[in-house]
Amino acid sequence: MGGPHTVVGKPLPRVDAMSQTTGQLVYADDLARPGMLIGRQLRSTQAHALIVSIDSSRAQALPGVRAVITGSDLPITYGILPVSQDETALAVGRVRHVGEPVAAVAADDAETADRALELIQVVYEPLDEVVTIEEALDHTRPLIHGDSSGQNVHRAAALEFGDVEEGMAVANHVREDVFWFAGNTHAALETHCALAEFDADHKLTLWSSTQVPHYLHRTLEKVLEIPATRIRVIATPSGGGFGGKTDPFSHEVVAAKLSMLTGHPVKITLSREEVFYAHRGRHPVLMWIKTGFQSDGEITAMHFKSFLDGGAYSSYGIASLYYTGALQTTTYRIPNYRFEGVRVFTNKPPCGPKRGHGTPQPRFAVECQLDKAAEELGLSPITIRKRNLVEPFTTTVNHLRITTCALDECITKVAEASDFSTKHGQLPVGQGIGLAVGAYMSGAGLPIYWNDMPQSEVEVKVDRGGGVTVFSMAADVGQGSTTVLATVVAEVLGLKPADLTMVTADTDLTPVDLGSYSSRVTFMAGNAALEAATKVRSRIVDAVAVKFEVATDDLVVADGQIAVRGDQSSGVTWPEAVRLAVAAAGPLIESGSYRAPDLAGPYKGAGVGISPAYSYSACIAQVACDAATGMVEVEQVWIAHDIGKAINPLLVEGQIEGSVYMGLGEALFEEQAFRGGLHRGPSLLDYKIPTSLEMTPVEVFLVESIDPEGPFGAKEVGQGPLLPVIPAIANAVYDALGLRIDEVPITPDKVIAATRAKAKGRPGRFGPTAAPEFLFPTLTRVEAPQEFAAP
């Protein structure tokens, strides 16, 4: 696998690029089926209320209405995680957030469906709202999931690795800081859409813009009570996901149910406003962090507390909670580490996984605190980080196995390119530069439901004309997974990616891949594709070697030919070689699979954070700030990413630039803001995302550490590069104005407030000052792994 490669490592266009740019690519809402009805959902106007009654008789009577359903028609609970199945497709007895689906209709056209919704009368009995983390922890408030009052705690965790007290005791310098990371949302350009068709043979097909067809398939089986064998889920090309299409959703279940009831295909496309209610975006998190340092900057211990505002339902919440504590140790060697976290329920749309899932918030806190400590210790931001870097091929104190890690080189690259050491602390007032780093998983080490099967399977079939078809359930959500898999197979078979036929994300046609989440597809499906393609190649080479009476090692598979090494004219064409292989041993269909090694440490919660490999990123942002207006402009970003191996550098750069973009929006203006339980602006006019005018120039550096377990050495890129962007900007703002905005987004009002505080002699800071009182569970003490040697 060492190279030289013919297609791996080349900046080739996506295999579907021309379908995209000509408008031919068919997304879920572009589909129409004969006799199709339009479905719509009635959503709660209340943040927290009992449903006293629902009268849908007038809607039922409206001409053109084919079905009306409510919670009692779909009473079975579901949820992405097996341990927290607390959602129903339509509210049963109670609503827990504004925008929660309460009833649904299928009608001949959209106008009739909308009119029918207006005719449904719901009588609510309002309950007290629980909106903030503090309210959720208030014992006198009503329980959102339960009938009494108490604390609205979804899950709490308390873990200690090593001995934090001892680590703090030996420190020369201990810092405590508190940070707030506001919630924000994915805002993919395509709104969610599902089209269900329950046919006369009682087979259900669901086309959906989902990232996880396999998990959706399992949910439909459970909720609709029909066998999985009669359900086909097809994930259509997605108009953006970012984690926002990774849960099973109400509209998917409802479209299926309405199709079963009416015998017609039913399509439900969410409006932009509805997407803000379906949400599953970034959790608002309050963080308290105490870290001990030696005077040379070496970290002796860290104690990290997180308080997550989960919204009304569980979603991925238990994983999200543990993620806020898991990856701190992947960048810096922390010999003693305590994590205490709690996720609460509130009467707001449920939070879930957004790009970086639970890790951008703690990364913001850790990187900002490290900068503060560096200043106090008289160290540069580079020195304090390099002092603590994890070594490649080590194990962290919380039992995460690290393989390749080129973070040192990443920091050096961006520091040199930006001239960081010359600029930091030296730029004129109003201009600043900041550094931060991050790490992310190349796929979650464990599947969402416990099983012993592969996490990814790929089949490669070759027809007698030489046509190669690759089958994988991996859903391309824009990240280019289909192109990556085509590139892997093409490389092995000596073909071009664009020559292959890719069949993806269809539960009838493709073998299981768990889905496009946790940056898992390149690593996991890539390895499965590599295995399948290698088997095909072996059969081809074996057959050709027999024909030419040469050893298989003497054959070269390249450029659509199989030739004897050193004698290109001796070869057979690819289709001829295929026919030889089929004649020799039958149909040319091979499969490959991947399952991550068993990496979980010996404690509850160890399943979160493990991964076969971690990507690393270092980011430097340069900003211009106006203290009078509070405006922050990011003038330039330099970012270096340890990708392992760039299978397609064009796509890798695209993921990095997109991550910088998304991080920029989160750092400076994106926020899911509420007034009580009511979303302040569920539209793209009110929820501002950066336009081409706010985007900054980005200089990207790819660092290739060639991971021994990744396909061709590759690791992830879709999520990791977002992590350091936000703290790099916050650190740059401090360098520019001497103000610590310990809260994102860093909006002008906060900058102005900190400026005024500083002018009055108070600390030039904006942010929370204390963590709420909360009794965490008894600490689970976990011994450091044997490999975690003392320094």
């Binding site: 900046p11 266009p13 996506r14 579907d16 690029a17 021309m18 379908s19 995209q20 740019t21 000509t22 408008g23 031919q24 690519l25 068919v26 997304y27 809402d29 572009d30 129409a32 106008e111 994915h186 805002a187 993919a188 350009l189 395509e190 709104t191 090309p237 997605s238 108009g239 953006g240 996901g241 970012f242 409006s271 932009r272 959500v477 824009g478 990240q479 280019g480 064009l650 796509l651 750069e653 695209g654 630039e657 997109g658 991550s659 910088v660 973009y661 998304m662 539209s683 793209l684 006019l685 995302i689 336009t691 081409s692 005018l693 985007m695 120039p697 980005v698």
Partner: protein
């Protein structure tokens, strides 16, 4: 709702349609004419995904009523290729990696096409400004701006 008979030229083809007076151009294109290359992202004029050209000018099809384009010429993404040969912007977007999920791409390309028709050699700042009404959530825009620059310089041909 009252329906009205309309004559509309879309991509060099004349369509005679009966449209409700409140039907948007976006609905007419996608649902009545089956031209789904034009996307919807918000239907409130916020995102630019439904950008089409009306008499050469970029407009948001979700904010224009079908009756307003009577006797006018509409170009959608499907009409930008010539006899199967993609427009140089379409090729440049593909080569530059300017599309990730691709959902904003048709609208983005039509806004860029309008710009290049008016101003064949726009400055980078002008490109940035002309595309500011088209949101993209994947790319961070830089590869899009680069693709438009390449198409403008003609090096995509």
């Amino acid at each position: 709702m009252t329906a009205q008979a309309l004559t509309i030229r879309v991509n060099d083809k004349t369509h005679r349609v009966l449209a409700e007076v409140n039907r948007t151009l976006l609905e007419l294109l996608r649902e009545d004419l089956g031209m789904t290359g034009t996307k919807h992202g918000c239907q409130l004029g916020e995102c630019g995904a439904c950008t089409v050209l009306v008499d050469g000018n970029p407009v948001l099809a979700c904010l224009v009523l079908a009756v307003q384009v009577e006797e006018r010429t509409v170009i959608t993404i499907e009409g930008l290729s010539t006899n199967g040969t993609p427009h140089r912007l379409q090729a440049a977007f593909a080569d530059a990696g300017a599309a990730q999920c691709g959902y904003c791409t048709p609208g983005m390309i039509l806004s860029a096409a309008a710009l290049l028709d008016e101003e064949p050699q726009p400055s980078p700042e002008r490109i940035q400004e002309a595309l500011a009404g088209n949101l993209c959530r994947c790319t961070g825009y830089n590869k899009i701006l680069e693709a438009v620059g390449v198409a403008a310089s003609g090096s995509a041909d």
